[in-house]
């Protein structure tokens, strides 16, 4: 068997049915095999989109996504997507072509040190120098990507190796003596955590992306009801707990909901599961959950104690540890110390600072209104992907996600241009679910060439461009923290997104008035074809924010229900705030 055939066979053996890729010189042997293969290959229009699509595929399905790019620029174009997957622990296998082995190191045409470049942004990477290494590497790659703290793996594949003949059945497996992810939490630590929770008066659960990655949403729901704790989430944890639940507090952090930020500040026991306490989640670390004992459950030991000091660390898989906790807590009677008072307080607080979604007559449209109409137009099984920036934070804040793997967003790396290609991957992975990509006009334009992909393959997803002709998030910071000096964040009137979309053969319409969005989304989904909705929104709308260097309760710009109009954000500079990002 030839190396190229071995790649396809190994991928198929891992259950791969579809890959996202873009061919090139050194990949000719591989693509020659693909020509007769049953493996479905989606030809994207930029390698970055291949990586994001594989990522979206992985996040929507829980399976490892696969993307392919050629050597040199093909590989460097994959980088943004690989780094995005790395920051959000998304399992993908990125196959990069490489120049022939005898040319490596010669600065050959389209040669780049892919292994060196991807070392800091992958869980692991391999370079196949002989064809017989390919099956073992792909097998190990899938195992590493998809187990423990999941993440991206790169396979660097020189041209001649794809053509080399070898005996597939004799190919050796790769031994991984240094890779043994811990699944089970230490029983003593779990017991300690259970006691701490039972003895606390005001517990709160902080659910991160780890819940979703370990498919532990059912366990989380059961556990939260059992210990009577409200649940807040990180951005990556959005969807792990239904945000329509009475005891859901929504997202925590810089653009979190006021109720989350205050309740975490108040609580006496914070149960953090599968999260990494990023700066966007904690605000000023010294102020974070200062009254609480903190339990941290995470599969990656290096995350425990990295940013926040932990009282009870548990290394283990979220699902596994939650099941053990449920077992212990169910068996222990805590003397029936009811948490009614705490829960009543939480619910009352929540009702008092419910974000305002009542903008039913504003023109230009308020994003809150658009999101409300979007919510009404879709089902709880619709997969939403977002881009990065204001559109993302508006969605995180005002849109209620009800199920896991239904809110897909670039968290750690904050990659503009992620939303649309991730939606392509999500739709390919879950053809029976509706998929809606919410993008900003800035981010969408970075990847708009892939409208060709959804047209050519007839991938029916809905793109909503929140169009304010701004790099909204940066512009907001300029307004708040840089004396309203709007430096290079206005995008002008080009392009016309409807015409742009139509030129690709993708149906599109513009939405400008209240009521139109809901109808447009419904029709778009019903059409069963790819569809773009250009939503003209109010460029002056800003997000509530915890200014950098402040504690979570110093959030500014949260409006109560009774306030119909937001007005100016009252923001006073304080000494701790020194700008920064």
């Amino acid at each position: 068997m030839k190396g190229g055939e071995a790649i396809i066979k190994s991928l198929t053996d891992q259950g791969v049915e579809v890959v996202f890729g873009y061919p090139g010189g050194v990949l000719l042997p591989l693509y020659d095999v693909l020509y007769d293969s049953d493996l479905k290959h989606i030809l994207v229009r930029h390698e970055q989109c291949a990586a994001h699509a594989a990522d979206g595929f992985a996040r929507a399905s829980g399976k490892v996504g696969v993307c392919i790019g050629t050597s040199g620029p093909g590989a460097t174009n994959l980088i943004t997507g690989i780094a995005t997957a790395y920051m959000d622990s998304s399992p993908i296998l990125a196959i990069a072509g490489q120049v022939a082995t005898h040319l490596i190191g010669n600065d050959a045409f389209q040669e780049v040190d892919t292994i060196g470049i991807t070392m800091p942004i992958t869980k692991h990477n391999f370079q196949a120098m002989k064809a017989e290494e390919i099956p073992g590497m792909i097998k190990a790659g899938f195992y590493i990507a998809g187990t423990g703290r999941t993440g991206p793996v790169v396979l660097d594949l020189p041209k001649d190796v794809q053509e080399e003949e070898f005996d597939y059945d004799q190919a050796p497996d790769i031994d991984l003596p240094g890779y043994k992810p811990t699944k089970k939490g230490h029983p003593l630590q779990v017991k300690k955590a259970a006691n701490l929770i039972l003895n606390s008066k005001m517990p709160v659960i902080l659910a991160g992306g780890g819940i979703i990655l370990s498919n532990a949403s059912d366990e989380l729901l059961k556990f939260s009801k059992l210990v009577e704790a409200p649940v807040t989430t990180t951005l990556m944890g959005k969807g792990s707990f239904s945000e329509d639940d009475k005891f859901s507090l929504g997202m925590l952090g810089m653009h979190g909901r006021t109720v989350s930020n205050y309740i975490v500040d108040e609580c006496d026991c914070l149960i953090a599961i599968g999260c990494r306490f990023s700066d966007r989640t904690t605000g000023l670390i010294s102020e974070f959950a200062r009254n609480a004992k903190i339990i941290h459950i995470d599969i990656d030991p290096a995350e425990i104690g990295k940013n926040v000091d932990i009282d009870v660390p548990i290394v283990g898989d979220a699902k596994n540890v939650l099941n053990n906790l449920i077992k212990i807590v169910s068996n222990k009677n805590n003397g029936n110390k009811s948490r009614n008072a705490w829960l009543n307080h939480v619910v009352k607080f929540k009702n008092n600072c419910e974000p305002n979604l009542l903008y039913s007559d504003s023109i230009p449209l308020k994003p809150q209104q658009v999101i409300k109409e979007l919510y009404n137009a879709i089902s709880d099984d619709t997969i939403i992907t977002t881009d990065v920036g204001q559109n993302q934070m508006w969605m995180a804040r005002y849109f209620s996600t009800r199920n896991p793997r239904k809110f897909i967003s670039s968290g750690g790396l904050g990659t503009m241009g992620f939303g649309f290609p991730a939606a392509i991957g999500a739709k390919i992975a879950m053809p029976d679910n509706d998929v809606v990509a919410v993008c900003g006009d800035g981010g969408f334009l970075m990847v708009c060439q892939d409208l060709a992909t959804i047209k050519e393959y007839d991938i029916p997803l809905v793109i909503c461009v929140f169009d304010n002709r701004r790099l909204g998030m940066v512009s907001q910071w300029q307004r708040l923290f840089y004396n309203k000096r709007i430096s290079y964040t206005q995008l002008g009137q080009s392009p016309d997104f409807v015409k742009l979309s139509e030129s690709f053969g993708v149906n599109a319409e513009r939405v400008e008035k209240p009521g139109e969005m809901e109808l447009a989304v419904r029709n778009a989904i019903k059409s069963g074809q790819p569809y773009l909705i250009d939503v003209i929104i109010d460029a002056d709308e800003v997000l509530p924010i915890v200014p950098p260097g402040c504690g979570l309760t110093e959030i500014v710009g949260e409006y109560k229900v009774e306030q119909k109009t937001p007005g100016e954000i009252l923001y006073k500079k304080n000494k701790k705030e020194i700008g920064g990002a």
Partner: protein, 166 residues
């Protein structure tokens, strides 16, 4: 806060190309303050032993250990207890010898420090010395006045005392 001190970290890693790059890259990326790294073969053919000297408090050390452990090619990592650890370094010093008197003086110093003269030329002597970094520093200080032409040091490698292995 924990006290910041020098730690000796011993790691067993797969003996493969690129592993040193992974480790070095990790340290740079995470901003760990590393004084020295030595790598060489170990008792097992496919494994190499890496000795890392790093400064930091317990929290920094914990992160170094955990992040190292996350590398797929790292098998084992231990923070060696300095009280029961032998730490040795090899140092080669090429000293200028202006005359016969200087030459014999340098030989005497080398003898006192259990060093050996491994090379002689009409106007230089090369001393090989093994020992703790402090001992080596002392010898270097002593012969500095004669004019040091070159120094090559391996950096310390370490192993724990007694029957226990890591």
């Amino acid at each position: 806060m924990d006290e910041s001190r020098t730690h000796i970290i011993s790691a067993l890693i797969l003996h493969k190309p690129g592993v040193l790059q992974r480790v070095a890259g990790l340290f740079t990326r995470r901003g760990f303050n590393i004084e020295n790294i030595t790598v060489g073969t170990s008792e097992q053919e496919h494994l190499a032993r890496m000795t890392i000297i790093a400064k930091g408090d317990e929290k920094v050390l914990e992160q170094i250990t955990k992040q190292l452990n996350k590398l797929i090619e790292v098998i084992k990592v231990r923070d060696l207890n300095p009280e029961i650890t032998v730490k040795l370094e090899l140092c080669l010093i090429k000293v200028h010898t202006a005359n016969e008197k200087v030459r014999s003086e340098i030989i005497q110093y080398a003898n006192i420090f259990s060093g050996r003269i491994i090379d002689v030329s009409p106007d230089t002597l090369t001393i090989a010395i093994t020992g703790s970094p402090e001992k080596i520093e002392s010898l270097i200080d002593l012969v500095r006045i004669f004019g040091i032409k070159e120094i090559a040091r391996t950096g310390p490698t370490a192993i724990s005392r007694g029957t226990k292995t890591m």
